[in-house]
C-alpha cells in the first residue's frame, strides 16, 4: 500500500505546530496502525528527520496509551484502539490525517503525544474504594447481585484512553466519569463513599477544564470498549442524589 500521511508535528508544548505531509510506500495491510508509524519513523531516521512522537505501550488494546485522531475519528474507523487497528481498514493511495487528542485538559507534549494526567487526577479525586490492608476478606461475605456485578464489570473495561473526550464536540469527559461512577457505584464495596466520590470526581472534572455533556453520543461511538451512554445517565443520577444528600 502507498499512503499519504498528514501528521501533526509539534516540537514542544509552546510550539505552534502544524500538519506535515509524508509519502509512505510498502505498507502491508496486515500491519497495525502503529507498525505503519514505526515504518514511517524508520524512514525518517534514515533521512535524518526527527521521528514522529506517539504514545503506545501494550499494543494489545488494554492499556489505553495509544491515542490518535485518525481522519477525524478517535482510534480511527474501527471500534478498537489504535494499536489494534490494521491497515486493511484503509485503502491504497489514501490520504490519512493523524492528529493528537484535542482538548485543553489534554495539552500536547510533543507531536501526537498528549498529557492525559487530568484523568489520573480525576481518579485520585475519588475513583477508588478505601479498603483496610491486611488479609483479604472472605469474598463470599459481601454478596453482589449478578446483574449489578455484570454491569460493573462491563463498564470497568474502560481503559481511560480519552477517546470519549477526543470525540466529544464539547471536550467533555462524561463517559469516562460515568464509567468509573457506574463501575464502583454498582458494587457493595463502592457504597460507603458513593456520594463523596461523584461530588469530588465531577468537581475535579470541571476544574480540569473539560466541557459539559450534551448527550450527543459521539463518545460512545468512539469508545474502543463500547461503554454505553447510560453510564452518563447513571453519573447524572448519582450527582443528583449527592446534591440531595448535601454535597
Amino acid at each position: 500500500m502507498n499512503l499519504t500521511l498528514k501528521i501533526w508535528r509539534q516540537q514542544n508544548p509552546a510550539d505552534k505546530g502544524g500538519l506535515k505531509t509524508y509519502e509512505l510506500g510498502g505498507v502491508s495491510e496486515d500491519m497495525s496502525f502503529l507498525e505503519m508509524l514505526d515504518v514511517l519513523n524508520e524512514q525518517l531516521n534514515e533521512t535524518g528527520e526527527e521521528p514522529v512522537a506517539f504514545d503506545h505501550d501494550c499494543r494489545e488494546g488494554i492499556c489505553g496509551s495509544c491515542a490518535l485522531m485518525i481522519d477525524g475519528q478517535a482510534h480511527g474507523p474501527e471500534v478498537t484502539t489504535t494499536c489494534q487497528l490494521h491497515m486493511r481498514s484503509f485503502k491504497d493511495g489514501q490520504t490519512i490525517t493523524i492528529e493528537p487528542w484535542r482538548a485543553d485538559a489534554f495539552p500536547v507534549i510533543k507531536d501526537l503525544v498528549t498529557d492525559r494526567s487530568a484523568f489520573d487526577r480525576i481518579i485520585q479525586a475519588g475513583g477508588y474504594i478505601s479498603a483496610n490492608t491486611g488479609s483479604a476478606p472472605e469474598a463470599n461475605s459481601v454478596p453482589a447481585p449478578r446483574d449489578k456485578a455484570t454491569r460493573a464489570f462491563n463498564v470497568a473495561t474502560c481503559i481511560g484512553c480519552g477517546a470519549c473526550v477526543a470525540a466529544c464536540p464539547n471536550g467533555s469527559a462524561s463517559l469516562f466519569l460515568g464509567a468509573k461512577i457506574t463501575h464502583l457505584g454498582e458494587l457493595p464495596q463502592g457504597q460507603p463513599e458513593r456520594d463523596g466520590r461523584v461530588a469530588s470526581m465531577v468537581a475535579q472534572h470541571d476544574a480540569e477544564g473539560f466541557g459539559g455533556c450534551t448527550n450527543i453520543g459521539e463518545c460512545t461511538a468512539a469508545c474502543p470498549k463500547e461503554i454505553p451512554l447510560d453510564v452518563i445517565s447513571q453519573l447524572n443520577k448519582d450527582l443528583r442524589t449527592a446534591i440531595r444528600h448535601g454535597h
Binding site: K6, W8, L19, M69, D71, G72, Q73, T97, E99, R102, A103, D104, A105, S117, D120, R121, Q124, A125, P169, N170, G171, S172, V198, A199, S200, V202, A203, Q204, H205, D206, A207, E208, G209, F210, G211, G212, C213, T214, N215, I216, G217, E218, T220, A221, A222, P228, L229, D230, I232, S233, Q234, L235, N236, K237, D238, L239, R240, A242, I243, H247
Partner: protein, 231 residues
C-alpha cells in the same frame, strides 16, 4: 506521577451537571407549557366564538381569588424565570465547551450525532429570537401584520393570511421540533432516567413523539389559514 490539584469549589450544585439539571428542569416546564398553549391554539378550528371566549376565559380563571389576568401573569413569571435559567445554563455551557477545545481538529468526522443534536445551540438561539418576535406580535401587539383587532381570532387569521408571517411561524416550528427531539432525550438522560438500553430508546421515541405532536399541532393553524379553512 500525577499531582493532585486542590479543587476550590467542590459544591456539586455549582458543577456542569447541575447546570444541565437546571436546563433539563426548565425545559420540562416549557414542554408542559407548549402542550397547553397548543391546546388553546387548536380552538381556532372551532371558530371565532370558541377561540376568543377561550382567550378571555384564560384571563378570568381563578377570579375572584386571583385578579383579572392573574393566572396568566403567574404563568408568565414562571416562564420568564425558566427561560432565564435555561438560557443562562445553555450559554454558560456553550462558552465552557468552547474553552475546553481551543485548538480545533483539522479533520472531524461525526458518526453518531443527530441533526437535531447538532443544532441545539443555534436552533435554540433562533427559538429565542422567535419568542421575542412572537411576544411582540401576539402579546404586546407591537408588530401587527394583517390585523390589530381586539379579537385574538381576527389577529390570528389576519396574520397567517400573509404568507411570510406563516413562513416565519412554520420555520420556527421546525426549529422547535428539532429542539424538542434532542431536548427531550437529553433531559431524560440528564435527569438520570435512562439507565438501561430500553429506557434510552423510550426517551428517544418520546422526543420524536413530542416533536411531531407539538410542532405538527401548532403548524396546522397557519397551514389551514393559508388553505382558507380557518377564515
Amino acid at each position: 506521577m500525577a499531582t493532585v490539584t486542590a479543587v476550590k469549589n467542590k459544591r456539586s450544585s455549582r458543577s456542569t451537571i447541575a447546570l444541565k439539571l437546571l436546563m433539563a428542569l426548565s425545559g420540562l416546564i416549557f414542554i408542559g407549557y407548549v402542550l397547553a398553549h397548543m391546546y388553546g391554539n387548536l380552538k381556532a378550528f372551532s371558530g371565532q366564538e370558541a377561540f376568543d371566549s377561550y382567550a378571555e376565559h384564560l384571563r378570568t380563571i381563578g377570579e375572584p381569588l386571583l385578579p383579572y389576568s392573574g393566572l396568566l401573569w403567574i404563568i408568565r413569571i414562571v416562564l420568564l424565570v425558566a427561560l432565564a435559567v435555561h438560557v443562562y445554563a445553555a450559554y454558560t455551557l456553550w462558552a465552557r465547551a468552547g474553552k475546553a477545545r481551543t485548538t480545533k481538529y483539522a479533520v472531524t468526522k461525526r458518526v453518531n450525532s443527530t441533526w437535531s443534536s447538532k443544532t441545539m445551540r443555534w436552533g435554540g438561539t433562533a427559538l429565542l429570537l422567535f419568542i421575542v418576535f412572537h411576544i411582540l406580535h401576539f402579546t404586546l401587539r407591537v408588530v401587527t401584520p394583517g390585523s390589530n383587532s381586539d379579537s385574538p381570532y381576527e389577529r390570528l387569521v389576519g396574520s397567517f393570511e400573509i404568507w411570510w408571517v406563516s413562513a416565519i411561524y412554520l420555520v420556527a416550528m421546525a426549529a422547535l421540533a428539532m429542539h424538542l427531539r434532542h431536548g427531550t432525550w437529553s433531559a431524560a438522560q440528564t435527569l438520570g432516567l435512562t439507565n438501561t438500553a430500553s429506557a434510552r430508546r423510550n426517551a428517544n421515541l418520546l422526543g420524536y413523539l413530542l416533536a411531531v405532536v407539538i410542532a405538527g399541532g401548532y403548524s396546522l393553524i397557519p397551514v389551514f389559514v393559508l388553505a382558507g379553512v380557518i377564515s
